[in-house]
Amino acid sequence: MSIDWYLAVSAIVFSLGALGVMTRRNPLVVLLCLELMLNGANLALIAFSRMWGNGDGQILAIVVMTVAACEVCIGLGMIVALYRRRLPIDVDELRELQG
């Protein structure tokens, strides 16, 4: 299969993730959709890496996975802290920073 097809799949996955981030309001699902966006970017990186035939894109994809793991760690910690303080698990109702 040519690289084009992989890039198309990656664009679809990234857009679906962005759609989820903008429309869902459960922060857990928002984090999951962020993972989708990172995975779409990863697929594009690895497709480009295959296109060039060197490993730079794969290394960048591994670094993106690391950053995603850090993001999950902090994000889930925040959700657990919200739950412990009896705050609503809902990004629409957590509006204190909006001023």
Binding site: L7, A11, V13, S15, L19, S49
Partner: protein
């Protein structure tokens, strides 16, 4: 064979992504994401990225998703579907200014993003993306194998490797601080039992006993050491 495998995996990837977005229950969203990640690993294999595919399955679909499943089981969270979000049905307290129009706008922006990405990636007609990629010959140290990735990580990308490990350390410390129990446990009798080690250890050293609110010396008096003051200050 490769084309068939590609289409199966691509359909799995996109179906998993749709499942993450539309599932009502967050638990099913997590399961859809696991399915998505496994099919994505198949796509990585088709792109000859063997090591990244293995990492994807073991670390991502294995470890990270287990973390998600734990938090979903712990927090729960009421279900919501994208349909009623888009139509603004079944919301108990709608914030001012944010309505179903915002949701429709979000969907429109998502669609516009897809069109734009498609134009940027495919519509430009770059010749290189039309091909099958660089020539590839199987071997123990060729493109995509663990030896190849390891050599790159420890030579050319050593700085990125070290920075990533440092970032992981920071995230681990941050996760422990965020998820620490701040309220403390119920009063119990064995709280007053002091061991000689407690007298030697200064306050605020971050022990597990302090984390669960079981202060070592004079629990709950609020004064004194910094650790005790911080932990009791968060008591809700």
């Amino acid at each position: 064979m490769s084309a068939v495998l590609f289409f199966i995996a691509a359909i799995g990837v996109i179906a998993g992504a749709v499942g993450v977005v539309v599932m009502r229950n967050p638990f099913f969203s997590v399961l859809a994401l696991v399915c998505h990640l496994i099919f994505l690993a198949v796509l990585f294999l088709l792109l000859r990225a063997e090591f990244v595919a293995a990492v994807q399955v073991v670390v991502y679909a294995g470890a990270v998703m287990v973390l998600y499943v734990f938090v979903v089981a712990y927090v729960g969270g009421e279900g919501e579907s994208i349909g009623e979000r888009l139509h603004g049905v079944g919301n108990r307290s709608r914030p001012p200014g944010g309505g179903s129009a915002l949701r429709v706008g979000g969907a429109a922006v998502g669609g516009a993003l897809l069109v734009e990405l498609m134009i940027a990636l495919l519509g430009t007609g770059l010749e290189a993306t039309g091909g099958d990629g660089a020539p590839y010959s199987p071997g123990p140290r060729t493109y995509g194998t663990p030896a190849f990735i390891g050599k790159l990580l420890l030579t050319r990308f050593l700085l990125a490797f070290e920075l990533a490990s440092f970032l992981l350390l920071i995230a681990a410390v941050g996760g422990v601080v965020l998820a620490r129990r701040r309220g403390g446990l119920e009063e119990d009798d064995d709280r007053a039992a002091l061991t000689p080690l407690d007298l030697l250890r200064p306050r605020g050293t971050g022990t597990t006993a302090e984390g669960v609110g079981r202060m070592t010396l004079g629990a709950g008096d609020g004064g004194g050491g910094g650790g005790g003051g911080v932990a009791s200050g968060y008591r809700s």
